[in-house]
């Protein structure tokens, strides 16, 4: 039996309505948990005053330099915490299984650890992809981590460090998957854990892994190095699924929702028998008289037609991934999108995954050596230019890296012939 819960008239208003209420959960915990009684008190105060009352600090576990988010209350009267049992309310960031799969036993085991050592509040998941075990005293951080660690779970990233990663459901349950996302994540992350657990980078660095250009984990906007699945050969087709779709949705829907919405006009509706044949053309019958003709050389792998016609159109068989560098949030120069640096790399064999791992390490090393303090990879590229970045990590220029060539004459071109020679050699090779 915990101490009495004080009145929370503001938070009570978040117990109405049909969506699951976190306040109801906090109150349930507070019945036998003094930390949650006081957490409710401080949170209610925030709702009244519209102010936050947490400050950071230094809390960690033995052997690691990061992964705990320390929180100490600043809501004090005469120098003493108003809500002493929530005066320390730290978070443990724990890396989830890639793809966020859980057995019921695992959920119960994690709950038991957190009910024993912490507040009993767990977020599945934070924005970087961590399981966030929220609310624990400094003294209990080590024993709680030890138990989770013995269960096979490791600390995530915080501060100027490699961060916890995310991959989509991918190969586990999605026909759009173009590589083994979980394997790629575990290869790249688990070979670079020193940079996660002992923060020493200029600023945070995030890898994210999406199995196709639908990019369900938002790799392009939220990661410094995005691995996004794609394919090189023709879209695979299945007449049975295509005909079933048109039978159900009609020819108008096929024209308006598929043909007209292709961003590069790579899809045409043709009479069966009159469709083009040959390299780069996929066709799929949509009824007894008509088919879709897809010009794969002009397809940009946007995924729209595959999304609308599941099963009827599938990624090709020659699958792999594109690599984009430099996505990040607002501070300090504004949000930046990841930009293409490797249009295609295979991800099938052990050697392929090792190449991805080497690339990741290479990019991390270049970032560590060249970024300014508190500068993300995207900001560094903004400052030094893409070509210097490519030079640094040993990649050749490629027209897939740009939307359009420069539109100003402000470059020094006395090495033009030598650069042309490099291009010619690569084309010949």
């Amino acid at each position: 039996m915990a101490k009495k819960i004080q009145a929370t008239p503001m938070l009570d208003q978040l117990e109405t309505g049909p969506w699951p209420s976190f306040v109801t959960g906090l109150k349930r915990l507070a019945k036998d948990n003094d930390m949650m009684v006081d957490l409710l008190g401080q949170l209610e105060t925030s709702y009244e005053t519209r102010k936050g009352y947490w400050k950071g600090g230094t809390v960690g576990v033995f052997g690691y330099g990061g992964g705990v988010i320390p929180r100490f209350t600043e809501l004090k009267k005469d120098g003493k915490p108003v809500y002493p049992d929530a005066a320390e309310f730290h978070t443990l960031r724990i890396q989830p299984p890639a793809g966020m799969h859980y057995s019921s036993k695992l959920l119960r085991d994690m709950s038991d650890v957190w009910a024993k050592h912490g507040s009993g509040l767990i977020a599945f998941h934070g924005q970087s992809g961590d399981i966030m075990f929220q609310g624990i005293t400094t003294a209990n951080v080590q024993p709680a981590f030890d138990e989770l660690n013995e269960m096979g779970f490791d600390m995530g990233g915080a501060g100027p460090a490699l961060r916890t990663s995310m991959s989509c459901v991918g190969a586990a349950r999605c026909e759009m998957s173009c590589y083994d996302e979980a394997r790629a994540l575990r290869t790249v992350i688990n070979n670079n854990l020193d940079d996660m657990h002992r923060p020493a980078l200029p600023y945070k660095f995030k890898f994210k892994f999406s199995g196709c250009p639908n990019d369900c984990v938002n790799a392009i906007q939220r990661s410094d190095m995005a691995t996004i699945g794609t394919w090189r050969d023709n879209i695979q087709t299945n007449d049975v699924h295509a005909k079933a779709w048109v039978n159900k949705n009609g020819m108008e829907a096929l024209v308006n929702q598929v043909v007209s919405m292709c961003p590069t006009k790579a899809i045409s509706l043709k009479k069966i028998g009159e469709a083009a044949k040959g390299d780069g053309i996929s066709t799929v019958a949509v009824n007894d008289t008509h088919c879709l003709e897809i010009d794969n050389h002009n397809c940009v792998r946007c995924m729209h037609c595959l999304n609308v016609l599941p099963g009827a159109l599938l990624p090709g068989k020659d699958r792999g991934a594109s690599i984009l560098i430099g996505g990040k949030g607002v501070l300090k120069i504004g949000a930046t999108m990841g930009t293409m640096v490797i249009p295609f790399m295979k991800l099938e064999t052990d050697e392929d995954y090792e190449k991805l791992n080497e690339l990741g390490r290479n990019v991390l090393d270049f970032f560590a050596e060249n970024a300014l303090e508190h500068e993300r990879t995207g900001e560094m590229i903004d400052r030094i230019g893409l070509v210097n970045f490519l030079d640094g990590i040993g990649l050749e220029v490629d027209p897939n890296m740009i939307r359009e060539p420069r539109n100003n004459p402000y470059f020094r071109g006395d090495d033009w012939d030598a650069e042309v020679e490099k291009w010619n050699e690569r084309q010949a090779g």
């Binding site: 503001m10 938070l11 978040l14 109405t16 309505g17 049909p18 969506w19 209420s21 976190f22 959960g25 349930r28 102010k51 936050g52 052997g63 309310f89 989830p96 299984p97 793809g99 966020m100 057995s103 036993k105 959920l107 119960r108 994690m110 709950s111 957190w114 009993g120 509040l121 998941h125 924005q127 080590q142 013995e150 096979g152 490791d154 349950r173 026909e175 083994d180 575990r186 688990n190 250009p213 639908n214 990019d215 369900c216 984990v217 938002n218 790799a219 906007q221 829907a253 929702q257 792998r301 946007c302 995924m303 999304n307 099963g311 949030g329 607002v330 501070l331 999108m337 303090e373 508190h374």
Partner: protein, 356 residues
Amino acid sequence: MAEMRQPIESGAPDPKQYMHPTMVKNYGKWIYHSHPKPGVLFHQAESGDKIWTVKAGTQRQMDVYTIRKLADIADQFADGFVRFTTRSNIEYMVTDETKVEPLIKALFDNGFPVGGTANSVSMISHTQGWLHCDIPGTDASGVVKALMDDLYHEFINCEMPNRVKLSTSCCEINCGGQADIAIIVQHTKPPKINHDLVANVCERPSVVARCPVAAIRPALVNGKPSLEVDEKKCICCGACYPPCPPMQINDPEHSKIAIWVGGKNSNARSRPTFHKLVAAGLPNNAPRWPEVGEVVKKILGVYKADAHPWERMADWIDRIGWPRFFEKTGLPFTKHHIDDWKGHRATLNQSAHIRF
């Protein structure tokens, strides 16, 4: 003192030990999916194996009793396995179609709405807010709870032109991320500096370096080394506050809420886009933020009525143009909608294209 235990640096765990066996068996071999009803996905593998997924909303910030209840539902109705999506929805997988309806009923009966698939409004991707952040301008879980109550019908049904992803962020750092509609704190006054504390708490050169508009400079105030802000240059972004807490940016009255639309990370149809400002100056009105809910519902209502099938918010606005967006939503257009940040001229209408 006992010897300290060395951590096992095991990293990200292998998911297959926690994965539904049918997903392990058919890993990388899926060939088809369909969407039988809101909240339910059907997938088929090359082998002919079939799996149904039932998706439900959660409060993300979950007490252990809620988590154990979700685990019980997994054991009773769904083969004992779950996964979470990036927007904190929970997914149950079953290989027996007859289990789908009882599972849906069990989830609804226990307060977990089934939905969030395809062209619905999914759960809001969000941040920590007053519950746990050290620099929050507002709460996160509360804003999300209030909004999802408002959008409950749109979560459990699929009536939108395409999927709709929302996010909230309690400061301009925007940890909630890009979204079709993003709700983000927007400060409107420069930081209030406690000059007694700056010298002891803040590493002054790095605070100066954080400012995107070079508005902060070292200064002696009342004989103490401190920092001062050129308030004419200051854009009130709050970037100085995390490295220097005595530069308080949060203000109960003047920290407002802005609404942004048209962010999209998928490559489907158009290239990925960042969200754009459409409304600001909304009050930070805890505990239910009704003014924010009104604007979000207004935008969603117009999008729902006007966009073509498969058009995301960004695709729709790209087709109808921004003047019509402001006309149809009734949102005022101000000088603040016109960008003046680096590269801003590319955002201007550099053409004679006008819709009448």
